[in-house]
């Protein structure tokens, strides 16, 4: 084998942070090479350097035996480097064909639609990636959109394909399909860089894996000779607890009861359809589903942030359907919103101020409408310590914190006073293994103390490892509620994709 890509001593410094510190990487021809690392480990920076979006401060790139000095992505593309970004670089209102050929259209002044369609059909047949070139991208599923991205790279004659967190938006079934495609491509001689922070996937699909931590490459391993624990330790730099130890499930009274809830959006399109479920004391109820299937609407309707069309919400048997968010807070409900920067924090307020956003009108903190800052700071000092916010300086603006520490501030505010119900949407999104470990621990603690937890997450792993019961939502419908102990990934995956693969449907066929 010979190397398709060699990265030698690459360093890239951003203001305040060394994103890539003397990074080395060799990708062989025809291999799937995984790059594993936490968020902020420097994976994306490295890929953007290889793709010509960033200029390295020092070091060199050798691609296919030739030293690269890229001035922009167009040069990387020309040399044969293709990249599928985590957030697709597609234009929804244009067709598949237009998206694929954009920037490298068939020669001429006029856009040659027929020629473009033909070329795409040719490539999609060659690589077994069927697609309708005339379809608008906005009408495609996420899996198919990804296919368009891959075709985009092949249309440009890529010899090396970089896939940046390609499974983040996919169902387990779509992920399997992608892996099949990847295996097929490698057989045809393609080299693939697969970026991920999911250990399992890296172990399943890659030939070799390079681990990055804090901007450095800490090692390259043969996938066959390593395991989950070793990779996790390398990634975090210390012993990591991968399995969550859960105490026995002892459900108590019903805390939250959602009955036949219907929610429509501004355009009167139904987003939540007749959803009913209960959550008990001492229980974590997980809601699994692909992004955009009504989770957000459901939670916001419960929290009084969005009008309900019909249905009831009961909290300890009391009808709270028409309660405002403030009233719900007073009942003892806590809420960790999905977007911590937009909905969870006021970024330009200090940590101390953010910590009393819920209770600022409480007599403890406010007298005759004047904030008692002494009390606010006392509270902040306590909470910052208790929840291990780093740096522990409560006068700092929330904006200055890392994502993980921002989330800790929200957690401290919402969990710090022992709520009866915690509604947490994507509580660990974009956080690294260490911080995830911490947040999971606090959520489990809350459950063990007898509170109810409603956990909404796109990470199936998270749902499965924490939940006592698992609801699956698809297209606004609650497909089924499964036992957290016995539910399998395949089962949930099928439901997430909208098919009820149980006895009744089998018989119906």
């Amino acid at each position: 084998m010979s190397a398709i890509l060699e990265v030698k001593n690459i360093t890239k410094v951003f203001p305040k942070v060394v994103a890539n510190d003397n990074v080395n990487l060799t990708v062989e021809k025809g291999e799937i090479h995984a790059i594993l690392g936490e968020n902020g480990a420097g994976k994306s920076t490295l890929m953007n350097i290889i793709y010509g979006l960033y200029k390295p401060d020092s070091g060199k790139l050798i691609f296919d035996g030739e030293e690269l000095n890229l001035s922009g992505p167009h040069e990387a593309i020309e040399k044969g480097i293709g990249m599928v970004h985590q957030h697709f670089m597609l234009i929804p209102v244009l067709t598949v064909a237009e998206n694929i050929v954009l920037g490298a259209e068939p020669k001429g002044i006029t856009y040659d639609r027929k020629k473009a369609n033909e070329l795409i059909k040719e490539i999609s047949q060659k690589y077994h990636l069927e697609i309708d070139p005339e379809a608008k991208v906005k009408d495609l599923s996420v899996g198919l959109q990804q296919r368009v991205e891959i075709l985009k790279a092949f249309y440009r004659k890529a010899k090396l394909l970089i896939l940046d967190e390609p499974t983040a938006m996919l169902t387990p079934q779509e992920t399997e399909k992608l892996f099949e495609i990847m295996r097929g491509l490698v057989k045809q001689g393609m080299s693939i860089i697969f970026i991920s922070h999911k250990l399992e996937e890296v172990l399943e699909i890659s030939d070799r894996v390079t681990v990055m931590r804090r901007g450095k490459t800490v090692g390259t391993l043969n996938t066959k000779e390593t395991n989950e624990q070793e990779l996790a330790n390398l990634m975090v730099g210390r012993e990591v607890v991968l399995r969550i130890e859960k105490t026995e499930y002892k459900p108590g009274d019903v805390v939250l009861s959602v009955k036949n809830l219907n929610v429509v959006d501004q355009q009167n399109v139904p987003k939540v359809k007749d959803v009913s479920f209960d959550i008990h004391e001492g229980e974590i109820f997980g809601l699994a589903g692909i992004d955009g299937n009504g989770q957000l609407e459901l939670v916001e309707a419960i929290m009084g942030l969005r009008p309900k069309k019909s249905g009831n919400i009961l909290f300890y048997g009391k009808d709270v359907t028409n309660f405002s968010t403030k009233q719900l807070y007073r009942e003892g409900i806590s809420y960790i919103p999905q977007d911590r920067q937009a909905d969870g924090l006021v970024l330009d307020f200090t940590i101390a101020e953010n910590l009393i956003l819920r209770e600022y009108r409480d007599p403890t903190y406010s007298r005759y409408g004047v904030i008692q800052y002494k009390k606010v700071y006392e509270n902040a000092e306590r909470k910052v310590k208790e929840f291990d916010v780093r740096p522990p300086e409560y006068m700092l603006k929330a904006r200055g914190l890392s994502g993980g520490n921002q989330q800790k501030v929200i957690l401290a505010r919402e969990v710090g006073y022992n709520p009866k119900l915690l509604i947490a949407v994507q509580p660990t999104r974009g956080m690294d293994v260490g911080a995830i470990e911490y947040i999971h621990k606090r959520i489990l603690e809350l459950r063990d103390k007898g509170a109810a937890v409603f956990l909404v997450s796109l990470e199936l792993e998270e749902i499965m490892s924490l939940s006592d019961r698992i609801g699956v939502i698809y297209n606004g419908q609650l497909m089924d509620i499964l036992d957290g102990k016995t539910a399998t990934k395949e089962q949930i995956g099928m439901l997430m994709a909208g098919s009820r693969f149980d006895k009744t449907t089998l018989e119906a066929r």
């Binding site: 234009i91 954009l102 490298a104 856009y111």
Partner: protein, 307 residues
């Protein structure tokens, strides 16, 4: 009322009134499709209207007046693009600034160059054109023939614009840049260059619209003579859903309202009410009556290329 509607003059005036709206509306389509909201079109029109007279009078040729106006329009547009695209300044505030500047500078130059008597009365006008064949058809001939040459140029530009935007590679790229500049950049497209192109075209076309007012419809310049046409053109563009033919259609509608109000001047009907029509239509278009207008996704959002 029936008499008014059957009067060919009404329809001829509609076309004439639509022209100084359609040209900047087409220009705005290019600019906004590339992702830049150019409200400076009002100011560019005004400056161009003034310099059209200056050049036309100085050279004795209305054509050179038109050309000079277009060059001035291009220069102002490039200044706008430099600040809005390269320096990522706020496009709305920048546009406002240029518009207020335009109003002041033209009034000042008018006074210092020509004194209080206004622009010279011997300023040449752009020619009108009689279309052989159509000219003699009753009614239709009176409506379509005998307009200023700019009206016919506008029609030609309309077709070219549509072809350019929706049938050429460059048009595809321009639209891509306005929808998702990051995606365009990763596909190897120079976002900044295309945004300059979009703004430049809006400047040139706005300038044509301005020149039409001063040396096409008249042969003089009056302070603030554009009277908000640059803004109405933006409304026409939105009403026309960011497409050339849609913009033209909306411009015709707005032109009709103006023409109608002029025809109704001597009747009991209040012309002020008719004059309001374009603005009411604009509000309705913006709040989504008759199908919501969806702008290009990255319209008005400055883009900084990665380093």
């Amino acid at each position: 009322m029936k008499e008014v509607l059957l009067n060919p003059q009404l329809w001829a005036a509609t076309l004439a009134m639509a022209t100084p709206l359609a040209l900047p509306a087409l220009g705005g389509t290019f600019s906004e499709r590339s992702g830049v909201v150019n409200i400076a079109m009002e100011g560019i029109m005004l400056i161009a209207a003034f310099f059209a007279v200056v050049f036309a009078h100085a050279t004795g040729s209305a054509w050179l007046g038109l050309l000079g106006a277009m060059i001035v329009g291009l220069i102002v547009a490039l200044i706008f693009a430099w600040a809005a695209v390269s320096l990522t300044a706020n496009q709305i505030i920048l546009g406002m600034a240029i518009n207020i500047f335009a109003s002041g500078i033209t009034a000042y130059l008018l006074n210092t160059m020509y004194g209080f008597t206004g622009t010279p009365t011997d300023t040449p006008m752009l020619p009108t054109i009689d279309i052989p064949g159509i000219k003699n058809i009753p009614f239709l001939g009176q409506v379509l023939s005998g307009h200023s040459v700019v009206v016919y140029l506008m029609i030609i530009i309309l077709f070219i614009s549509d072809y350019f935007l929706f049938h050429t590679n460059l048009g595809l790229r321009l639209r891509a840049v306005g929808e998702n500049p990051e995606a365009a950049e990763t596909a190897g497209i120079d976002v900044i260059k295309l945004r300059y192109l979009g703004v430049a075209l809006s400047g040139i076309l706005s300038a044509m619209g301005g020149a039409y007012l001063s040396i096409g419809a008249l042969n003089s310049f009056n302070p603030d003579m554009t009277s908000g046409r640059g803004y109405i053109a933006l409304a026409a563009m939105i009403f026309g859903k960011w497409t050339p033919f849609g913009s033209f259609g909306a411009a015709l509608l707005f032109g009709f309202a103006t023409a109608l109000s002029m025809q109704l001047q001597n009747t009991a009907f209040s012309k002020n009410i008719i004059m309001m029509l374009p603005y009411i239509l604009t509000i309705l278009a913006l709040v989504g009556v008759g199908g919501k207008s969806v702008p290009p996704a990255a319209d008005g959002v400055p883009y900084t290329p990665k380093k």
